[in-house]
Subunit: 338 residues, 2 copies
């Protein structure tokens, strides 16, 4: 049965003794089997099997200086956008023989530095973080350890660490412009907490910077289906009613869609609805959600590539801006006089 050791784990020396060879030979059997004669190799392999020898990752790491894993800090796993990003990260890192340690920050400001410290303590060779605003402790930690760290989900060429992401302000503007072009004037914007979230902040200031003569009103809610569904009541408690609802993330938009359906409000006939993110659910919803596609899979791949090269060859990557684009589907329509 697993977990029940006879004594303690066998090491290289034990194997060498059992096979009556030197430690170097055992090491060679492990790393360069061709350099060992077949009969010696067989003898060593037999000893490895009988002693249930498993090489120590720590001992290997101490010599190579490489632990072969990096860490990712994301706000949550409950939003599919991060799950998709991590899936792409994990896959691409795997191609570079790197594993991924996942840590969630739960949007609480203090925990990011703590979790980052934890990742460094266990030997992460690099870090992927979300956004560009972090605590002073976090920056001090990265500065002190000089750990390769890439910011994602936020493109900002002037940032002190490389950023691989999209222009959040521009993404929000794409959405708002689309709604304006459809003739909508009174637009309700639904967003998550902006204080703890620089992406939300950037999107909101993108909207404010755009002068299209629109009448914007903002509502804050939890970034979740439930949050989107619940905020509908607030929107319609308010008057006048909006021509269109713009959610700064797709989960919320889908929640709003459900909330509207529950009240018998038709999309897009009574109100246009759109999100930002382009989750798989958005394409399948009825009506299919118009949204702004954020290339999170691409972002995961690019961030993984860049970090892999950084930790392996000390090539510090530059920032990279990934394009966001309008995905016109069925939840937005031209405004008709009502």
């Amino acid at each position: 049965m697993a977990g029940t050791q006879d004594k303690k784990r066998a090491n290289l020396r034990d194997v060498a003794k059992a096979a009556e060879v030197s430690v170097a030979t055992v090491s060679r059997v492990l790393n360069a089997p061709d350099a060992v004669s077949p009969k010696t190799r067989e003898r060593v392999e037999a000893a490895i099997r009988t002693l249930r020898f498993v090489p120590s990752a720590a001992a290997r790491a101490i010599n190579s200086g490489r632990t072969r894993f990096v860490g990712a800090l994301v706000p949550t796993l409950d939003n599919a956008i991060f799950a998709r990003f991590l899936a792409a990260l994990e896959k691409t890192l795997g191609a570079h023989q790197l594993s991924l340690v996942v840590a969630t920050t739960e949007t609480a400001p203090g925990v990011e530095a703590t979790k980052a410290k934890g990742l460094i303590d266990i030997g992460a060779e690099g870090l992927i973080v979300t956004g560009v605003s972090h605590s002073a402790e976090f920056y001090a930690l990265i500065e002190r350890t000089m750990l390769p760290t890439i910011s994602t989900s936020y493109y900002d060429a002037g940032n002190q660490m490389p950023t691989i992401g999209y222009d959040n302000a521009a993404a929000a503007q794409i959405a708002l412009t689309h709604l304006a072009e459809l003739g909508h004037r009174r637009i309700t914007v639904i967003h998550g907490n902006a204080r703890s979230n620089d992406r939300t902040q950037a999107r909101l200031s993108g909207l404010r910077a755009l002068d299209l003569g629109l009448e914007l009103s903002c509502f804050e809610t939890e970034i979740s289906l439930r949050g989107g569904s619940a905020v509908v009541e607030d929107i319609y408690a308010d008057s006048p009613r909006p021509d269109a609802i713009l959610c700064l993330s797709d989960v919320v938009a889908l929640g709003v869609l459900f909330g509207l359906q529950g009240r018998g409000i038709a999309v897009p006939d009574d109100v246009s609805l759109m999100g930002i993110d382009d989750l798989p659910s958005s394409a399948v919803a009825v009506p299919a959600l118009t949204t702004v596609h954020l290339p999170v899979t691409r972002m995961g791949e690019r961030a993984a590539e860049a970090l892999a090269r950084w930790v392996a060859h000390q090539e510090v990557p530059g920032s990279e801006r990934l394009p966001a684009s309008l995905v016109k589907r069925d939840s937005t329509a031209k405004r008709v006089a009502r």
Copy 2:
């Protein structure tokens, strides 16, 4: 700037030399600061700062024998059910000072053993896997390395490794019984690929084992919103039409709901619809989906607890069965003669 080393990383000896103390003293400053006199400590801390010394995780691990992380192998991150499970795992492991390395198996049979090997190679102290059917290579690997490993999502007391999960057959039966009690006779079952998925297999055999005089027909589709949405066409190409549709997972059920909405088929008036999982989206959908609650958050917590105790105190856990329960919502209703 991070990543640009002057020479190479300073080590304990370098710090000791710079602070004119012994290596033991530096080690004490790191691990038991109170055992060092304030003025010596300060001198050492100054040296640590100027040399930008960061202790090597590998060297620490080689002594303690602990790497402080475990691995989790899940089929995918794209299904919220696994994302939620991992979130709970990560959180609870964190309370035990353990980090989580995530690897996805993409349901391909060969990759599980390969990824498990990778996790062991980098030093994972334990493993969390999904389901109880694994390749021979995988079992051989676990057997050989004696790595603490817990199976989840599938309760089976007779399994060779501890299982922490629910009774999949019983969960499916809860769903089918509910539909039967509502008077539905012709029931369409939607499931994912059963060959590569023992949970699906168990659920299907649970359904077959239940003799309620029902007329079951099965459709296989991809486990995703898209898969659920797409299969609706197949269901209604077939005649006769079903009284109820039972999806063996909630993502698929939500997809089917969208598919039905797209065809103008009313739930639950024209057809009852239910799923298994109880995702957050199911409670918010319109109509809210009747489903069978699977306690994945609880499962993550229990699995993390058990694995943490196993790796820290060699306490091999027993299997644990978590209860699945019916969540009656609005997508199922009594059958009326049509």
